[in-house]
């Protein structure tokens, strides 16, 4: 029905992560998970190496800061360790990790009392470019989009990060966020339009 729909059990296999990691086939990670549940530290380390980049990338895009993303990723894996008994080894671990990542980032934001969204007017386009006289480089545009992400509401940002950056299907995002698919789709289209408009406005202000 939908172009990008994926079955949840295939999630671990078909995820388009930020960088090619180790071959985290589902069976392998399930075995590692079972061993970790039995108290095998090496198996937990295996899980850590398997998922750390995805968790870190998600946290980075949700929080907008690498340092905070490190804190969040650390907390996510420590929660995984503490709650290993709650994880079903027969199901892919990644959706669980994404859910915890979103929650941890939410908690972190709340703890540090950040605003949910930064108003567009507060973003200084001059700070986004290192080359004010030259053309807009791709890297600068990406920085604009990254800044645009921080202008979204928390739920819009989570939806669009999971859907467009992490490449999950709408159904999977809905499952992770505990919302309906319709709600997720609404957040996604709103977020996409906002990002597009934000980038356009920044470019206009800069020119």
């Amino acid at each position: 029905m939908y172009g990008r729909k994926m079955e949840s059990q295939d999630l671990a296999l078909t995820m388009t992560g930020p960088a090619p990691e180790r071959d985290d086939s589902r069976a392998e990670s399930a075995q590692a998970l079972e061993r970790a549940m039995a108290g095998d530290r090496a198996a937990f380390d295996e899980l850590l190496r398997c998922y750390e980049r995805r968790v870190l990338m998600t946290a980075w895009r949700l929080l907008g800061s690498k340092e905070d993303a490190q804190d969040a990723a650390q907390e996510v894996f420590l929660r995984l360790y503490r709650h290993l008994h709650r994880v079903d080894p027969q199901r892919p671990l990644l959706p669980w990790l994404y859910r915890v990542t979103v929650n941890v980032c939410h908690d972190l934001r709340r703890k540090r009392r950040w605003d949910t969204a930064i108003p567009v007017e507060e973003v200084d386009p001059a700070r986004l470019t290192a080359d004010p006289a030259g053309e807009i480089a791709r890297a600068e545009q990406k920085r604009m989009v990254a800044a645009a992400l921080q202008t979204l509401t928390e739920k819009e940002r989570a939806a669009v990060v999971l859907r467009d950056i992490q490449g999950l299907s709408t159904r999977e995002v809905a499952g992770i966020m505990g919302s309906s698919e319709v709600t997720v789709r609404t957040r996604i289209w709103l977020a996409r339009v906002k990002i597009k408009k934000f980038v356009e406005r920044l470019e206009k202000r800069r020119s």
Binding site: D45, R61, Q70, F77, K142, W189
Partner: protein, 224 residues
């Protein structure tokens, strides 16, 4: 369809989030509408940039730092083990607490019922100046009643006049069972006999009519 609808549809269609029929309709519309085409094009550009954010390599030191922190944290973060019988133990404890609470409540309500009966049996004597004269010698009840009724409430009654229950009208079936004690002089009656009667009626509503020596003062006591 108006512009916001198209904006929504295009924003979803650009990543294939629309069902097939709607996607086709959007594609047809885009062929005919220039402004929508432009909108879709710029949306595709921002979406491409957004996706590239996910492809950006993470610094290796950053990843290693997280790994190091997690490994250090594992020492202090003990995994929470599930004890096989903990649910059962909690359940049993909960049930025991519930049973205890019910028993306590029942006991408490019984005590209260006894008190109510005692209080029902004494009110007629409480406001009377002659309340101290209790025939059955139930000094406990007499004392409680005398304490619980404020004196100001009966200030209009001349204590010297005294009063007596003229009629006690319980539920019709037992109306005749309550009588003024024969031996008691006017203004005095036996609280003990009243109490016994009230108990006999199983706490049915009572209407107590008290007539004082003053013909202008008649008191009705409605006891629920």
């Amino acid at each position: 369809m108006n512009w916001p609808d198209f904006e929504r549809l295009i924003a979803l269609d650009v990543e294939g989030d629309l069902p097939e029929p709607q996607g086709r309709a959007v594609a047809e519309h885009l062929r005919a509408c220039n402004s929508c085409q432009q909108f879709a094009e710029s949306l595709k550009i921002s979406q491409a940039l957004l996706k590239e954010l996910g492809q950006e390599p993470l610094d290796e030191p950053m990843v290693q730092e997280v790994r190091r922190r997690v490994r250090n944290g594992l020492a202090s973060a003990m995994p929470q083990r599930v004890f096989p019988g903990w649910r059962l133990a909690w359940g049993a404890g909960l049930i025991a607490a519930l049973v205890l609470a019910v028993l306590t409540l029942r006991h408490h309500s019984r005590e209260e019922a006894t008190q109510v009966v005692a209080e029902k049996s004494t009110p007629a004597s409480a406001p009377l100046p002659s309340a101290s004269k209790i025939e059955n010698g139930d000094s406990k009840i007499g004392a409680r009643s005398a304490k619980s009724v404020p004196a100001a409430r009966h200030s209009s009654i001349n204590p010297r006049e005294g009063m007596r229950p003229a009629s006690i009208l319980p539920a019709p079936s037992v109306a005749g069972t309550l009588k003024r004690p024969r031996a008691a002089p006017p203004g005095e009656f036996s609280s003990g006999s009243l109490r016994a009667s009230a108990e006999a009626q199983h706490l049915q509503p009572l209407t107590v009519k008290l007539i004082t020596d003053n013909p202008n003062v008649v008191i009705y006591w409605l006891v629920d």
